[in-house]
């Protein structure tokens, strides 16, 4: 279901828990499909002993993918025109992430009605792991 301009207003929000208790297996799944096999995301021994981190952590693109699920659930399938993020903190196994979109503008673009959204994804401690923005085509 797509959004309608007549049913939303600036300041509206939509939020979803996009992953609960993130597993190391989910990181391995993401490595396998994305093709990014950086050992930082699957190899605890390398990550601790060589890279100097407390352990494996999520691909930034996994956090963006999880946040993208909230976004497409909100605006509808096939409606995105733009989606961009900044990775502000690492995401670790065990994290629970909540992604939120806030309506910042509803306007016309190239004959379409579009919505501009501001995005933020936070972990269970309230720490922001992603900030971003998106633009989607909506119904009149």
């Amino acid at each position: 279901m797509a959004l309608s301009a007549s049913k939303i207003k600036v300041g509206d929000t939509h939020e979803e828990v996009v992953i609960e208790d993130l597993s190391r297996t989910q990181l391995v799944m993401y490595a396998g499909t994305s093709g990014d096999y950086n050992p930082l995301h699957s190899d605890d021994k390398y990550t601790k002993e060589i890279a100097g981190y407390p352990g494996v952590f999520a691909h930034g693109m996994l956090s963006m993918g999880l946040t993208g699920k909230m976004l497409t659930n909100y605006v509808g399938d096939g409606r995105l025109k733009k989606y961009g993020v900044r990775f502000t903190n690492q995401v670790w196994p065990g994290d629970t992430l909540t992604a939120k979109a806030t309506v910042v503008d509803i306007r016309d673009e190239g004959g379409d009605k579009v919505v501009d959204l501001e995005l933020a994804t936070v972990n269970q401690d309230g720490k922001t792991v992603i900030t971003g923005s998106a633009t989607a085509r909506i119904d009149a």
């Binding site: 993208g68 497409t72 989606y83």
Partner: protein
Amino acid sequence: MADEVKFPVEATHIMMFARSVADDNPIYYDEEYAKTTEVGHIIAPPTFPRAVAQFDPDYFLRPKVGQKWFGSGKNATGLTEPAKSSGGLHAEQHFEYHRQPKPGDVYTVTTKPGKTWEKTSARAGKLTFTETIQEYRDQNGELVVTSRGVGVKTERPVEQK
């Protein structure tokens, strides 16, 4: 990333990718369901284009036959002189969709370097940012997706608070 990579989009890859981002929306795997939607066919999740890495023969974050790998095996790294940095972290990622990617598309993905800049951070020392612009064009030469990524190399591991 090689300057030009062929990226064939396949339904199975999309299904597995959707699972890997914990998204069980049937539009990513169920053709019958997808036919009933506004789009009318299976599409790929928004971040799928980055999976082009699978098709890049030079991609350095994939172990290659006959070459030493920097991850652990018998030892914590397979290299005798491991690099101090693991190749860096992802700082930003932006996509622009000109239409929805779908199975059967074959993209030619061209990669161009963008800007480079530096910053100093209390948590990781000197940061070097590098921008990469990618264009995904389909078999008809039409632009489907534009991607702008920013990578960052840190002077030291990011300090955890």
